[in-house]
Amino acid sequence: MLEDTVPLSHYLMLSATLFVIGIVGVLVRRNVIVVFMSIEIMLNAVNISLIAFDNYMNLSSGQIFSFMVMCVAAAEVSVGLAIIIALHRNKPTVNLDEFNLLKW
């Protein structure tokens, strides 16, 4: 139990668990904001495994990758929230099922 280090599989398991929680959130919730937050959970889950592999192989490219993931997340959040505000202005609701204009 009291080993010195955390095995790689534990980090990967945490990452997979958080990713699946994010997927379930996207599939199950109908509130736009909460679905958006679930996407953030998924992005974070990937960062864990990138950095874990870095740590186990003594590289630094994985950390640069997670840095880029954070950049993309920041860009995505700013544009996505602007879209949500624009949608809310057209149709005062946050329920995803009500936005069906682009459906077939």
Binding site: Y56, N58, A73
Partner: protein, 169 residues
């Protein structure tokens, strides 16, 4: 010793992530997400990636979550605004099936993950995860992605301003 720190942190993160999904009020979800980000920063510190841990706190828990809170307050969302939150009634069956699929994927993934043979980290130099070594890699091997990221952020900034404007002229 590291395991003793890892398990509580990981449990904290998973519980708060579940809190994001199953909370009825959007503000509660956002607060859980902030807590999860802070827990993840702790896990990054455990993995010796100090610079990324600080970035996680500044960018995610600071900037991005403030933006989320700002929009929640702006839209004036209240508890239970999405009454039928559990699934669409029209395709309840599909939602349940996809949920089961996601859990099945997790089960299969855990099977594969536990065959990983790496149990001890590499022998890390003291400089691992510091600003110096990350900066050196960023400005030698990854200059082009760095510049592209700056263009991406500029485009996102312009896009957000244009999208959120009331009237385009």
């Amino acid at each position: 010793m590291e395991l003793l720190i890892f398990y509580p942190l990981a449990g904290f993160c998973v519980v708060l992530a579940l809190g994001v999904v199953f909370n009825t009020s959007p503000v509660g979800s956002a607060l859980s997400l902030i807590g999860m980000m802070l827990g993840l920063a702790g896990i990054f510190v455990l993995q010796q990636a100090h610079f990324i841990a600080i970035l996680q706190i500044i960018i995610y828990a600071g900037a991005i979550m403030v933006l989320f809170m700002f929009v929640i307050m702006l839209l004036n969302l209240k508890k239970g605004d999405d009454a039928g939150w559990i699934a669409r009634d029209r395709n309840l069956l599909l939602s349940v099936l996809t949920g089961l699929l996601a859990v099945g994927i997790l089960y299969k993934l855990s099977d594969i993950i536990f065959t990983a043979k790496m149990n001890t980290p590499a022998i890390l130099p003291d400089s691992f995860g510091t600003v110096a070594i990350i900066g050196e890699t960023l400005f030698t091997d990854f200059v082009l992605p760095f510049e592209v990221a700056s263009i991406l952020l500029l485009a996102a900034m312009v896009g957000a301003v244009v999208l959120a404007k009331t009237k385009l002229d």
